[in-house]
């Protein structure tokens, strides 16, 4: 479902003396449907960079990133947008929303974008918010004023609203209490059972061992300092 091959990337900082920073070299990995693979490696080794390249946020210099038949490294913007709408989900560590939009609608939005009926999308959103223990009295409020942990759970609810065939998770259990952590791990297990290919960063070692089938150490893809 997700196949990365021969991938490399550098950053050029034009306003800082044209400094060139190689960040990825010959990265390759494969995630099959129903499989959860953990990216491991020290901070700065390139885990998040690789996730962002797969999601199309970062450009690739060289190589291929094939997700559901689309090569993200080469696809036109509108093909990437469609891939993100239908196939590829991403739960980042930060919630980024239009201020003033109710939490329920923030979570329902990925479904609404797919043309799912309002009532159905909202019901799904409310089900997820309840499972993640966001009190019902908050559903009509914008999450911008919520606590960090609440925002993270809203973000997770949004990421799991649509059953994406491929899913990227950046530290989904960080800063969650035990009960919510168990809920999130349950959501991941359910997504796997329904055939999703999942690639994640988990600093939480116990969580990693519980849901991940394999580990890929990105240190192997870190360019050797010139």
């Amino acid at each position: 479902m997700i196949t990365v091959s021969d991938l490399s990337k550098h950053f050029t900082l034009h306003n800082q003396g044209g400094t060139v920073i190689p960040v990825m070299q010959d990265a390759h990995l494969h995630v099959a449907p129903g499989e959860c693979v953990a990216l491991i490696g020290a901070s700065g080794a390139g885990k998040s960079t690789l996730m962002r390249m797969i999601y199309g946020n970062y450009l690739a210099d060289h190589g291929a990133i094939v997700v559901g038949g689309v090569d993200v490294a080469r696809a036109a913007p509108r093909d990437i947008l469609r891939l993100r709408r239908e196939t590829l989900g991403y739960v980042s560590q930060f919630l980024r929303v239009v201020p003033r939009v109710a939490t329920r609608d923030v979570v329902a939005e990925p479904l609404l974008a797919l043309g799912v009926e309002d009532a159905v999308a909202r019901a799904r959103a409310e089900d997820l918010l309840a499972r993640l223990r966001i009190p019902e009295r908050l559903w009509g409020l914008s999450p911008t004023t919520f606590s960090g942990g609440e925002q993270q759970r809203v973000n997770i609810a949004r990421g799991f609203a649509h059953t994406y065939p491929a899913l990227l998770l950046d530290e989904p259990t960080a800063s969650l209490d035990a009960a919510n952590r168990a809920t999130v791990l349950g959501l991941i297990e359910e997504a796997k059972a329904s055939g999703a290919a999942i690639l994640g960063i988990f600093h939480d070692e116990a969580a990693r061992h519980q849901v991940c089938d394999r580990e890929v150490d990105v240190t192997a893809f870190t360019p050797v300092a010139a």
């Binding site: 950053f11 050029t12 900082l13 034009h14 306003n15 962002r52 199309g56 946020n57 970062y58 450009l59 913007p77 509108r78 990437i80 947008l81 469609r82 239908e86 980024r96 239009v98 201020p99 003033r100 939009v101 479904l111 609404l112 974008a113 797919l114 043309g115 799912v116 009926e117 159905v120 999308a121 019901a123 799904r124 799991f160 649509h162 059953t163 959501l187 359910e190 997504a191 059972a193 329904s194």
Partner: protein, 268 residues
Amino acid sequence: MTLHSTPKPQTAPGPLLQVRGLEKRYGSRIGCTDVSFDLFPGEVMGIVGESGSGKSTLLNCLAGHLTPDCGQVIFDTRTAGPCDTVTMGEPERRMLSRTDWAFVHQNPRDGLRMGVSAGGNVGERLMAVGARHYGNIRDQALDWLSRVEIAAERIDDRPSAFSGGMQQRLQIARNLVTGPRLVFMDEPTGGLDVSVQARLLDLLRGLVRRMGLSAVIVTHDLAVVRLLADRLMVMKDGRVVEAGLTDQVLDDPQHGYTQLLVSSVLQV
């Protein structure tokens, strides 16, 4: 976990707007040059750049307010399919601007009739495309005022009695009432308080999704394009220096000017 409803089948329509080699000069000075892009139905394209970068010139060339010196602006019309709006006759272009296009100005005073009531401002655009039944026009005006969150009892008030944010929402209602397919926006949230901006952004996003609108938005506000635009073009000195997916351009800018622009934003 099951998906509650199957997504709508996706068809592959052609681009709504195709821009090819567009150039506008003011004497020997370049307004904008060598601009080419496609815009597909339902897509929102942001154009950013500092003052004088040519972004407003480009928008005005696209919307037929300025005549470009060379290049094509091909719009997929309902009746005749793709037509170059640069070479079409003035009456046809004017008809497009009343039906299929909308233009939201930065200053609502440029897009509203300040001496006419709120209802009249919305109704006037309907009458321009042939609506004549007073009751229907008033009903539609009321419907649109509520969609842009203006209370029904304000329908007979003039926009001069409205706040800046209300005027901007009224301008949007006036523009969208005829069901356009393409909306041009020039700094739609410029000059508004941030709290009012947020409300307007939310409104625009909802309308774009529900009506399946395509839009071209010119702004200097990177936060606005991140929230509204699917794709982004960065302009400098009349040229497009970088283009791509909005979050890719903002998160991994390739051009030195874009890097400067992104790194200059103050963090709140």
